[in-house]
């Protein structure tokens, strides 16, 4: 029944996505076709019923307040705090005390700000490590083949052209018993990342390469998470994290090999 309205047209009709010409043609057909009219009516009713049924979960009352509080903390951590000018002093001693107080207050403010920034950076790094480990676990559990399967760095690296907004180098010479298995395109920390899949003996290694940003830079050199060892390094343009359950020394051997070839990468 090629004359009947297609599924796409019926859905677009219910969604208000038809152009004026399409709408006129659809209306003309509907005026003559009971079957399509019935389907169009059902689609429209289904849409409105789904809209109501879909509004199912209300946020808990404290979530709004918590997010507002988080927003304030973010602002506080990002604002540059200016040092206060002391009130006018009448004597040299007064000026000296004021200057000393100013220095002390400034020092405390700088210390507090650094401490807060450190805390923020530390929590971001911890989140990054957790996310990398989760993805590594998911890769192990998924058992799906890599999107690009190759042991050849000249195949794996070009595969990322046009898929990620940066480039990187892969080492030719790998430590003993270490082998490139392939790679996936993934997202880490809400950024596109190259996921390089290596094996060291029978241990699998996930190496995430992502563009270095101000907000999401890697602050860890190595960490343990959920029994996995995470080793990381940063260049001026890249953050690289490697996750595996292999001996940390052997993991470092691979990471060092990758780090050594990152000079001269085109960005």
């Amino acid at each position: 029944m090629s004359d009947h309205l297609s599924d796409g047209l019926l859905n677009a009709l219910a969604d208000g996505e038809l152009s004026a010409e399409q709408l006129a043609a659809a209306n003309e057909h509907l005026s003559q076709c009971a079957s399509c009219t019935s389907n169009a009516l059902f689609q429209s009713l289904l849409k409105s019923a789904t809209a109501k049924a879909g509004q199912r979960y209300a946020p808990p009352a404290q979530l709004h307040d918590r997010l507002a509080q988080l927003a304030k903390q973010e602002t506080t951590s990002s604002n540059v705090r200016g040092a206060r000018r002391p009130a006018g002093a009448l004597s040299i001693a007064g000026w000296a005390i004021a200057a000393a107080l100013l220095l002390a207050c400034g020092g405390i403010l700088v210390f507090e700000r650094n401490a807060h920034q450190d805390a923020v950076a530390s929590s971001e790094s911890a989140a990054l490590v957790t996310e990398a480990c989760d993805q590594h676990i998911a890769t192990l559990a998924g058992n799906a083949p890599p999107q690009v399967i190759s042991t050849d760095r000249h195949t794996v690296k070009p595969w990322f052209q046009g898929k990620i907004p940066f480039s990187f180098n892969l080492p030719e010479n790998l430590p003993a018993d270490t082998r490139l298995e392939g790679a996936d395109l993934t997202y880490l920390h809400n950024q596109p990342a190259a996921l390089l899949l290596y094996s060291i003996g029978k241990h699998r290694v996930s190496v995430f390469v992502l563009q270095r940003t101000i907000a999401g830079s890697v602050d860890v050199v190595s960490a343990e998470h959920a029994g996995f060892h995470v080793t990381a390094f940063s260049t001026a343009e890249l953050d690289v994290l490697a996750v595996s359950d292999v001996d940390p020394v052997r993991l470092s051997g691979l990471v060092n090999a990758i780090e050594q070839v990152q000079d001269g990468v085109r960005h």
Binding site: S6, D7, G8, N11, A12, D15, E17, S35, S38, N39, L41, F42, Q43, L45, L46, K47, S48, A49, T50, A51, K52, A53, G54, Q55, R56, Y57, A58, P59, P60, L63, H64, L67, A68, L70, A71, E74, T75, S78, N79, E131, D134, Q135, A138, G142, N143, A144, G162, K163, I164, P165, Y187, L188, H189, N190, Q191, P192, Q211, T213, I214, A215
Partner: protein
């Protein structure tokens, strides 16, 4: 293919909290609702919304005034979900799902039993059963559920949904057709919609 929208986040110059909160806070119920549907539990939904909120706040300088903030923050929510534990599991369901249905861009067909076997009155009765419809929605795979939530509940336009999901508009239309066909079939099944058994996820694991 748009590759570089995230690059704008790099030149972040600090959160503009008030303007951000004015835009984001009214969307909190919508964000939480979709987050709960996707993650299927309250704890994950709260975490997902909170992470989305922080990412959006930190990247707010990359938001272009005048563009659609709702689509922008839903895109962040969706990307955050995809990198979460439950989201990664959901991603692995997509390939086989498309394989079984003949690909995303293939035509969507209503199951034979779903067409013209019910009277309009019966259809109205089916659609008035909110619980049955919610159960039917629970049976949808994540790619179909998210598109139906964005189209019907959030009332986003196809082009906005395409931006949120980072897929062509044709794929959005195809998924909407498949989702509605699945809902229709589930509602009109003689036994009614059945709760998801987890089979679809286990098959892919």
């Amino acid at each position: 293919m748009t590759l570089l929208p995230w690059k704008r986040a790099i030149r972040s110059s600090g959160p503009q909290t008030s303007a951000f909160e004015d835009l984001a806070m009214p969307l909190l119920p919508s964000l939480y609702n979709v987050a709960f549907w996707l993650s299927r539990n309250a704890t994950d939904a709260e975490d997902l919304v909170q992470e989305t909120f922080l990412k959006a706040l930190r990247g707010f300088s990359s938001f272009e005034p005048g563009s659609n903030f709702k689509a922008w923050i839903f895109r962040i929510l969706r990307n955050t979900f995809l990198t979460s534990r439950s989201g990664l599991a959901a991603q692995r369901t997509v390939a086989l799902e498309d394989e079984l249905s003949g690909g995303e861009d293939g035509p969507a067909h209503y199951p034979e039993a779903a067409i013209d076997r019910q009277t309009p009155e019966m259809n109205l009765m089916l659609l008035s059963d909110r619980a049955a419809l919610q159960t039917a929605m629970e049976t949808l795979t994540p790619p179909l559920l998210e598109v139906i939530l964005l189209a019907d509940v959030e009332e986003l336009k196809y082009r906005e949904i395409a931006a949120v999901l980072d897929v062509p508009i044709g794929t959005v239309m195809s998924r909407i057709a498949r989702a509605r066909a699945a809902l229709r079939a589930a509602l009109q099944s003689p036994t009614g919609p059945s709760k998801p058994t987890g089979t679809s996820r286990e098959v892919r694991a």
